[in-house]
Amino acid sequence: MGKTLAEKIWDDHIVRSAQGEPDLLYIDLQLVHEVTSAQAFDGLRLAGRKVRRPDLTIATEDHNTPTIDILKPIADPVSRLQIETLRNNAKEFGIRIHSLGDADQGVVHVVGPQLGITQPGMTIVCGDSHTSTHGAFGAIAFGIGTSEVEHVLATQTLPSSRPKMMAINVEGKLKTGVTAKDIILAIIAQIGTGGGQGYIIEYRGSAIRDLSMEGRMTVCNMSIEAGARAGLIAPDQKTFDYIKGKPHAPEDFPVAQSYWETLFSDSDSKFDLEITLNADVLEPFVTWGTNPGQGLPLNGSVPNPADIKDSEERGAAERALEYMGLTAGTPLKKIAIDTVFLGSCTNGRIEDLRAAASVVEGKKIAPKLRMLVVPGSERVRQQAMKEGLDKVFLDFGAEWRNAGCSMCLGMNPDQLAVGERAASTSNRNFEGRQGKGGRTHLVSPLVAAATAIRGTLSSPADL
């Protein structure tokens, strides 16, 4: 029997396999950031251990960094200590780091691909659940906790139990105005936040193949919101073209590419579960609740919990409506928004900024609405400025910030106030995610831009 794409990569990385034990997997790359690494480095120091492969490790600062005045000392002393701790650890253990102000600083999952160190067939980990982003290149990439960060630093391996295999086939052609974000929000709404638990998801089908690398990253990024630690897409010519010319592209490109071309699911491979989604009928999708599975097409209305049969789900919907301050039956397009956030590892790449800029160009922001544009990395910021996108956003009335995770997780000062409502291109609409008491609707960059113009949840078609 043939193998799936994920099985091929998995098997290629088994250092040791023993009956009744998890496989010991070799890790090709570990990405490190300030929030989930300090205790791991401490553990190494306590045990007198070294980093086995500094040359397969890279660090940047993103989660807890300011997006304004980045070269001034960080005002919050606890945040400052966390950043300084990462810098000191990188120095002590000989790890490459891209700090604030550096051209390659940015959200860790934007930085890896733009450097060309994210490549097909790799195993990639990071102390961040959105590591699944890198699966867009045909890699097994997943988030790990701090104990595992320490484990990989010390051994370059990770004991891992083989996951089950799921295929999600997205067939057909997306309508104008419907994007990768809408595909993944629709998938999560269909299979639920736990639907992918225990699986690696392979996204397949014509609508996936038609996506750009940026779009594929958006889809794989939110695999974790469907419960799957990893999601991936078979590499193709688009993947190879994206990597070519990047700083860390293989020097012997043809040899690497001939291996990458073997990375697909064999026609006789077997998935434990297959799901199909029709791209032809997809509409722009938004969330109305407090988990990413609580989403609907933008043309819909806030659901009535009484209509939900499952008692757990009904209870969750009731609590969500209360937290979100919404009334059942309200058309989603009537929901007024206070803040629009454009950015994050989900939608902070250059293509996302271009898409939003094309909608807001020459327009004015809705009265009293604020819009934060936070490029995913310093390189994305510079590219956007080269294209004049910063001016488009500033003329529109948006704020143009420095790179980082920013309001996606509300760890730095970029936060929502109590009761404030956001349309956000990020990945989580959990209670308080973007600031205590803040309310989040997850949207695509196009919907974010149209919403910033109209002041209520909208798509470009409504303009």
Binding site: V15, R16, G20, L24, Y26, D28, L29, T36, Q39, D42, G43, P54, T57, V78, L81, R96, Q119, G127, D128, S129, F142, I144, G145, T146, S147, E148, E150, H151, A154, T155, T157, P159, T193, G194, Q197, G198, I224, G227, A228, R229, P247, H248, P250, E251, D252, A256, Y259, E312, E313, G315, A316, R319, L409, G410, R428, F430, E431, G432, R433, K436
Partner: protein, 199 residues
Amino acid sequence: MEKFISHTGTGVPLRRSNVDTDQIIPAVYLKRVTRSGFEDGLFAAWRNDPEFVLNQVQYKSGTVLVAGPEFGTGSSREHAVWALQNYGFKVVISSRFADIFRGNSLKGGLLTVILPQAAVEAIWLAIEADPTTEIKVDLDSRTVSYNGVSVAFELDDYTRWRLMEGLDDIGLTLKQTDSIDAFEAKRASYKPKTLPIRI
């Protein structure tokens, strides 16, 4: 890591599903560089509500958290495990845990026990009827017992052994250094390296 063989304590019924890691500990509490002190941030958004279960005096000394399905979805922050442990929890019971949270908990010695939802409901009722109900979670026999009821749970042999012996995972892997060396010797040369830096 401390050995985990068996734990007996009282329960705390958390009747909510999809308790994500931002509820367990919000991002603003993740700034510390130590492994302790995270109990302040545990369920921070709910702690001001006098009705919240942790604020009810009868559950103050509970060490077994009994939660709704999809517990721990979201981020990979191990701080979520540390916050629960720092607060005093030894065990979390739920019908479904998110993968990363579950992995983190079992690495860190917080036992996460998966029981069918019906069994979780029965434990909720028992605790609510009598908050002093003792719950025994035994790794040796892989059972949860209370009020004469005993429910079996599954946990793979390897993880169980590691927890019962209190073994350091890294130490175990370092015994395989020869296998790692051998694997590295045959790794393809085109695999990317972060050093030396290329621009």
